[in-house]
């Protein structure tokens, strides 16, 4: 599920200078300068999905914080009930959710805080944390079974 074509910018994850983007130094910017979030007209942005938008190189959507992470959440679509708890409480807007369905995790923006795993209500959880270098198939193959509630 991770190869979704939801990226608006081809340059995402690269530094701005590599992307051929003329960047002024922080001390060269004049006071009162404006950083445009979008190329061209930005009206009606609230009605456009991320992949339909024309982000400028100044928008942090085109940047990445993936290097912050030591553990990563892995999403198992077979267990997910699309409750969207993870979407509303993700602090990094990294849960990719379209048409009321949870599709996956944006690993360029995720910082690995584990909140999505904590708020997941399914049994077993449909999101679990794995080491950053663990590949997705191994992670998904060893998914835990449903745990029964202990009767007192």
């Amino acid at each position: 599920m991770q190869d979704l074509k939801l990226r608006a910018s081809e340059n995402r994850g690269k530094s701005q200078l590599e992307a051929g983007f003329d960047l002024l130094g922080w001390d060269e910017v004049t006071q009162g300068s404006v950083l445009p979030s979008f190329e061209g007209d930005a009206s009606g942005i609230a009605n456009l999905k991320a992949e339909e938008r024309n982000y400028s190189g100044y928008n942090s959507y085109t940047a990445t914080v993936a290097s912050w992470r030591v553990v990563k959440p892995v999403f198992n679509i077979d267990v997910c009930i699309d409750c969207q708890n993870c979407w509303v409480w993700c602090p990094d807007s990294s849960i990719l959710s379209r048409d009321k369905q949870m599709l996956g995790i944006d690993y360029d923006h995720c910082k690995g805080c584990e909140i999505c795993v904590e708020v997941c209500p399914t049994n077993p959880k449909s999101l679990l944390m794995f080491k950053e270098n663990e590949d997705l198939e191994t992670a998904l193959s060893g998914w835990p079974e449903k745990t029964k509630k202990e009767k007192n």
Partner: protein
């Protein structure tokens, strides 16, 4: 005004994010949950202003901006001032008909941390409320100056250890009570004042929508647990927020027109303050025998405050 449906979470999740990721807030910070929710609960154009604080320094790291709306930052204290100036300019230009799109609805929002709301920006905030500008001010209350290393602010509650009110053999941390900012802002006669928390996302979204729809200055104090300075694991952010609302450390209520108080959330099982305090490292010292009396005092304050809120709700004063 085009408000988005918050009937259930699935419907709310079809809204498009206008607060982008890859900001540099700590992992597990509740600030971005609150900001995202505000931006998602309306389709209108927004003009946002921010005081200096965690939110400002983390979302505008040159050369990036995380805001898909107009966003202004001037100084530590003057988010309320800059957004009220923008609101007046919009009003005048609309009257003259010099705007690009004269009919597009625009909402004005200011964000401030607790330091810039309770202390440094309070005069400016109070002034903007007195002038009755049509804007919404949202305080992201994490109870300290988290951006500069966790100094005490007047939002820090009694007993908490911070880098300028350190607990040790001679002190149990901050000795003064937290300022009741909601009551202060309600006393300005503001049409809508509320205290909300991100764990009750629906209450929060509805509160934001009410504030945006209401004409005149609205104030919302939101609880924003800070994993760095409250000293808990990032994954526990929502758990700590649950404890905060269920122990009534942060009762959720709204005040209309300065006097009509409604309690928004009554916890089914009210938990003790001890449970809330025990979950955070900044209160660890209170569990030593010599400082136990502070916990009793905190519990008594919570009980008194809850009784007062219930009486105010009944009496409508």
């Amino acid at each position: 005004m085009a408000i988005t449906s918050v009937k259930n979470l699935k419907e709310f999740s079809t809204t498009n994010d206008r607060f982008e990721g890859a900001h540099t807030l700590c992992p597990g910070c509740a600030h971005s949950m609150i900001v995202r929710e505000l931006m998602n609960c309306t389709d209108d154009n927004l003009v946002v202003s921010a005081n200096t604080g965690c939110l400002e320094v983390s979302t505008a790291v040159y050369p990036f901006t995380s805001w898909d709306t107009s966003w202004i930052h001037i100084g530590f204290e003057n988010a309320a001032t800059s957004v009220s100036a923008a609101q007046v300019m919009h009003k005048v230009r609309k009257k003259k008909g010099t705007l690009k799109d004269n009919d597009a609805p625009v909402k004005f929002v200011a964000f401030g941390g607790d330091g810039s709301t309770f202390d440094i920006g309070f005069q400016w905030l109070s002034g903007a409320f007195e002038r009755q500008h049509d804007f919404t001010y949202i305080c992201l209350d994490n109870e300290n100056y988290a951006n500069t290393g966790g100094q005490r602010s007047s939002a820090t509650p009694i007993g908490a250890t911070t880098s300028t009110s350190v607990a040790g053999t001679h002190s149990y941390g901050k000795k003064e009570k937290k300022k009741d900012i909601v009551a202060i802002m309600a006393a300005h006669g503001a049409p809508y004042v509320a205290q909300l928390a991100p764990n009750k996302w629906k209450l929060m979204a509805k509160g934001f929508q009410t504030a945006l729809e209401t004409e005149g200055p609205c104030f919302i104090n939101t609880v924003s647990p800070c994993c760095t300075e409250w000293k808990f694991e990032p994954k526990d952010t929502m758990g700590i927020t649950d404890l905060a609302t269920d122990s009534l450390m942060f009762p959720l209520y709204e005040i209309h027109n300065g006097h009509e108080l409604n309690i928004l959330y009554r916890p089914k099982n009210i938990i003790s303050a001890e449970e809330y305090l025990g979950a955070q490292g900044r209160y660890k010292h209170l569990f030593k025998p010599e400082y136990r009396h502070v916990i009793d005092k905190i519990q008594k304050d919570i009980d008194d405050n809850w009784a007062m809120l219930q009486r105010r709700e009944e009496a409508r004063i």
